[in-house]
């Protein structure tokens, strides 16, 4: 596992560097033109963010009820990555929207939900850092509540009309675009996996350090 880390990271970096070439060869979209190509990173980042949030939620639930410390490590790593990819989504989205819709931001379903989800992820990180004793459990409860909240967030936001492209865009992508999309998606998923592994490793080292301190005190 550890030996594979470096070559995989190099691969991810190479793929990411090569991605613009792939994207440039993809078909032009008729109504939005060049700026639509932001989608190739924006949409997969959104997918990664959601996936990371789910990982965090599941790990937090495991930690809260099974008290498994490994689950806690996964939870905090996934939360950091949710915040990171959420930030990517929230920055690349408006950059696309400015050109495509004429405005930087619109308060409707998916945008607001991404924003709220990102705020909760950052809140989780704040709790872990500044929460004091018992903050790991509180963070876990927060993540579990967030996961339970998702359908309600989605429902309540969705009752307004939306400008955001529907999720049906991805399965119905034209063949000329499909390759570029899945290449970018694969790159980002690979990057996510690698960052998650690195972060969990850091957390494991921290736990080991704490054990060493405790052993020294005895």
């Amino acid at each position: 596992m550890k030996k594979a880390f470096l070559p995989l990271l190099l691969l991810a970096a190479a793929m990411f560097a090569y991605a613009p070439v792939v994207i440039a060869h993809a078909d032009y979209e008729s109504t939005m033109g060049l700026v639509q190509k932001v989608m190739y990173f924006h949409a997969p980042s959104g997918m990664v963010m959601l996936m990371s949030a789910v990982v965090c939620g599941v790990a937090s639930a495991l930690y809260l009820w099974k008290k498994d410390p490994a689950a806690d490590r996964v939870a905090i790593a996934a939360a950091e990555l949710t915040a990171l990819f959420g930030l990517i989504v929230l920055v690349t989205g408006p950059l696309w929207a400015r050109k495509a819709w004429g405005v930087w931001w619109v308060w409707e379903a998916r945008l607001t939900m991404s924003f709220v989800g990102w705020l909760i992820a950052v809140g989780y990180l704040f709790v872990r850092k500044y929460g004091g004793p018992g903050s790991d459990k509180l963070g876990a409860a927060l993540a579990v509540f967030c996961t339970a909240n998702v359908p309600f967030l989605y429902c309540s936001f969705n009752i307004w009309r939306t400008m955001h492209p529907m999720t049906t865009v991805v399965p119905t992508l034209q063949p000329g675009m499909r390759g570029a999309f899945w290449f970018s998606a694969l790159t980002l998923f690979l990057l996510y996996g690698l960052l998650l592994t690195a972060r969990i490793h850091l957390e494991r080292q921290r736990t080991a350090l704490d054990q060493l301190y405790l052993a020294e005190e005895d």
């Binding site: 470096l6 190479a14 990411f16 060049l34 990173f41 400015r98």
Partner: protein, 90 residues
Amino acid sequence: MMRRLLLVVWLLAGAVAPVLAFQPPAAQSEYVPVKDLPPVDQLPAAPLLVAAYSFIWLAAMFYLWTIWRRLGKVEAEMRALEQRRSHSNR
């Protein structure tokens, strides 16, 4: 060990990627069929696209760097603890 690996990768990525990324994409400066022309707009799209791509690069690299830095601190502390323990054992 992990730290050094991360450092090497980070430097490589930072050096190689912009070179590859900012080469002019071949297909675009050639013909674009009339029906594919984007609607005329005051805003040029290319800077936005470039900004989005660069942001992702910067964000990922920054995050990797923070992991590397934190890992460095933890491993330094572990080494210090080990040294203290070996000293006290003598």
